[in-house]
């Protein structure tokens, strides 16, 4: 499924959506960015509560399909503009990481 299709299916809020047609393949959950860098796989949907701007660089490096910010975490405007310019999709949901992963499990 694509990131656009995920948004349509679950109503996640798109904070930055420069590459909506990217395919999602698998899920990674983590907040410690040094771990995420080495462990998230390409095309994963990455669920996190980390909002520091470094998430954009880590998503770019790991080539994830999208970042999903759980628990209604918000990000500063510069994170969104950087994500747009670097081709990194950022979605947001009020659900927790576990609930979000369960929702994705049913869809992928």
């Amino acid at each position: 499924m694509t990131v656009n299709e995920l948004i349509a299916a679950k109503g996640y809020k798109a904070l930055a959506l420069p590459e909506g047609e990217r395919q999602i393949n698998g899920v990674y959950i983590g907040d410690l960015l040094s771990w995420v860098m080495g462990r998230a796989k390409a095309d994963n949907a990455w669920i996190t509560i980390m909002s520091n701007i470094n998430i954009v660089a880590v998503a770019s490096l790991a080539d994830t399909a999208c970042i999903i910010l759980a628990e209604g975490v918000t990000v500063p405007e510069d994170v969104i503009s950087t994500a747009e310019s670097k081709g990194v999709n950022i979605l947001s949901t009020q659900s927790g990481a576990y609930e979000t992963a369960c929702e994705l499990f049913g869809l992928l």
């Binding site: 960015l33 040094s34 860098m37 909002s51 520091n52 470094n54 660089a57 880590v58």
Partner: protein, 242 residues
């Protein structure tokens, strides 16, 4: 120029993970035994033992620095140091508004003891101190500077609560002037790997027990003529700020 041996990251019995024997007077006394000249008290998210530490340090001929180890919203530890005790106490009031209050469970986390100048117990902090505040790493430096202090990431060579482990690499913002290492042996490699050659390297103990406090090893060279402890403190902060 005079060499000033230092330890700028020490926990007292107010930090739950700090030993109950790490009272302000014991810390200052240990500094004397170890040949230190400048010591900073940096409890987790509080400065409430700094007044007692100032009195104890002065009695022992140690130049005291009032500080705090701030836990940011991202769970990154940041050392905050203030030139004046009063600045640290004002900053503490701000941090109190930004703490996430969870009752301390002493049987799990340990005691959080507030002392007077003579190490008498004058109070306990009821809520757990070290958990993350709502202050983000982005705003931490500016906030501390507003109170006349300086701030830099603590023990960046550690996985637990180190900025590199938490954020993956050293962020461009805020523009920290210093970084703290726990073990100087790892410094060269990490500095090169993360391209942070422009930061000053501070080595401190993060002591939670008296025996962890640093030995007579790392020092600052400070031009202290005409000598006063206030001048040394001023020069130290000038160095750390630039």
């Amino acid at each position: 120029m005079t060499k000033y041996y230092y330890d700028l990251h020490i926990h007292s019995c107010l930090s739950p993970c700090g030993d109950d024997d790490s009272t302000p007077n014991n810390i200052a006394g240990m500094g004397v035994l170890n040949g230190l000249n400048i010591m900073a008290l940096t409890d987790h998210n509080t400065t409430k033992n700094c007044p007692a530490f100032f009195a104890a340090a002065k009695r022992n001929g140690i130049i005291p620095i009032a500080g705090m180890e701030l836990t940011t919203a991202e769970d990154i530890h940041v050392v905050c140091l203030f030139e004046e005790l009063s600045q640290a106490m004002s900053f503490n009031e701000l941090v109190e508004q930004r703490r996430v209050l969870i009752k301390n469970r002493t049987e799990i986390f340990g005691n959080q003891i507030i002392c007077d100048d003579n190490d008498e117990v004058i109070g306990h902090e009821d809520n757990l101190l070290p958990n993350a505040t709502t202050i983000s790493i982005d705003e931490s430096l500016e906030l501390v500077e507003q109170f006349g202090g300086i701030a830099y990431p603590a023990h960046i060579d550690r996985e637990a609560n180190g900025i590199l482990a938490t954020l993956g690499f050293f962020p461009l913002e805020p523009k920290f002037k210093c970084v703290e290492f726990h073990s100087p042996e790892k410094a060269d490699e990490l500095i090169k790997l993360h391209g942070i050659q422009d930061k000053k390297v501070i080595v401190s103990s993060d002591a939670h027990y008296l025996w962890d406090i640093k030995e007579h090893k790392e020092y600052f060279e400070i031009d202290d003529e005409p000598y006063s402890s206030a001048l040394v403190t001023k020069k130290l902060f000038e160095y750390l700020r630039t």
